[in-house]
Amino acid sequence: MSFLRRTVPLAIAFTVGVLMAFQYFVPHPHSKAFLELMTRWDRIIAGFAVFIGIYSLFHLHWTRIRRKAAGWGYSIFVFLGAGITIAFGLYNGGEAFWHDKKEDTMFDWLFLYVQVPAGATIFSILAFFMASAAYRTFRARTVESTVLLIAAIIVMLGRVPVGTLISPYIPVAADWIMGVPNLAAKRGILLGVSLGAIATSIKIIFGVERQYLGGGD
């Protein structure tokens, strides 16, 4: 049983990983077709994985309702929102879900007038909290924190007309910060992250990294 539970998954990861890594260096139509096939398989599996997320979220909110936990009534709205959206999505404007997706249906209406405004507003509210957090935490205690503060202020002022009003050099300075020191630091971080990701990928392929298998046998 250990063979099926441990060896087979490691063999699958090794085979698929090696094949995909080598595929990149083979400039042949069959190699390209193989890549397309594998990414299509990946898309299908990811489609099934969505149901794990749905189950997890529904289970969480259902437990809150069942146990009458604090604020359980709000969990009903999760089911309400999901139920209505899924129902309209499956109804597909009169044609059932096994036909191609129709445009301008109630499903699109829900996306346009519920999901987009609510999402944009929730993210925009962060502007207030970031400003408030920055006011409380940004203190020019050290030289480094002063540098961070100045860079943030210049970039913020450089993106609004009032910056140009104060001085025409502020937008130029903001562009320079984004294009030179910011680019250099981001590139350094990116190189480090890439090397780390490559090392982790090699460890996964060769079975050194096995965290994804979870615990047990």
Binding site: A13, A21, I44, F48, F107, F123, I125, A134
Partner: protein, 281 residues
């Protein structure tokens, strides 16, 4: 020393009658303020909802909002926007309702889009439909279908181990694709402009200084993250320069993110003022 304002009966013991009276008064006052606050918040919520309904009714009657799905949608979107912004006053039922509704709608949207963009065109149409209509099916798709089903078996007790096969496939595929793509896109393509000649004729002095600064920044940041050598002496100096570059970058990222959120905020205010209230054109 810290002394609690609201004493328990035990804490009240050993105090004079006047002190006990004072404590009871404080307790009563606090309770009254709490009840009044709750009552105020309740009436504020009811009043705001009533005002919102009244304004929309007026807009529908005046023809500002059309009696159509679009008009109704604008009203709903405005209501959701105001409910989310009500959190700036304090956490309240309107915000919580919208928050949970948003999660539900986003989940429903993900399900339907996954069906129409992935499962239907890649699995249902080429495999299941031909099987049931007697046409030539792509039987190779049974492999990802079973791997997908194995993934869902994670919720069972007996067959949960089968989900490891699916995870191994997805993780192995990702790892295999990652290695050459990262080397090409993120390492070689990023190193190339970092090693750009400082001066080869034709460019300005400022451009040459910038190229040199970028090289210095990349090198110093990499040295800062290199922990196998103690950051002392020349390595310490260079790593300190790396910290400076990182601080500028973090500041710039912060400023950029704040402005991004601000533009979203402006977008929402514009929606309220233009599309809903019609104050600006």
């Amino acid at each position: 020393m810290f002394t609690p304002t609201l004493p328990s009966p035990l804490k009240g013991e050993g105090k004079t009658a006047l002190e006990r009276k004072k404590l009871d008064f404080c307790k009563g006052l606090k309770e009254m303020i709490r009840i009044n606050n709750r009552s105020f918040d309740f009436w504020l919520l009811v009043g705001t909802l009533g005002l919102f309904a009244l304004v929309n009714l007026l807009f529908f009657l005046l023809g500002k909002l059309g009696l159509s799905w679009e008009g109704f949608g604008i009203m709903i979107a405005a209501g959701l926007t105001l409910a989310v912004y009500s959190f700036l006053y304090k956490d309240n039922p309107a915000f919580k309702v919208v928050e949970n509704l948003y999660v539900g709608v986003a989940l429903g949207y993900t399900v339907i889009i996954t069906w129409f963009n992935a499962l239907k065109p890649d699995l249902y149409d080429p495999l299941l439909v031909p099987i049931f209509t007697g046409r030539q099916a792509q039987y190779l798709l049974l492999v990802p279908m079973f791997l997908g089903i194995f993934m869902i078996l994670r919720f069972t007790r007996v067959l949960t181990w089968l989900s490891r096969w699916s995870f191994a496939f997805v993780v192995g595929l990702g790892a295999g694709i990652t290695i050459p793509n990262l080397i090409h896109s993120f390492i070689l393509k990023q190193l190339e402009p970092s090693m750009h000649p400082v001066f080869y004729g034709g460019e300005t002095v400022l451009a040459s200084i910038n190229t040199l600064l970028i090289l210095l920044g990349v090198t110093s940041v990499l040295i800062y993250f290199f922990f196998s050598v103690e950051h002392k002496g020349p390595v310490g100096v260079i790593s300190r320069i790396g910290i400076w570059f990182l601080m500028v970058s973090f500041g710039a990222s912060f400023g950029y993110t704040v402005m991004g959120r601000m533009s979203l905020l402006i977008g929402r205010v514009m929606f309220l003022m233009r599309d809903w209230l019609g104050i600006i054109q």
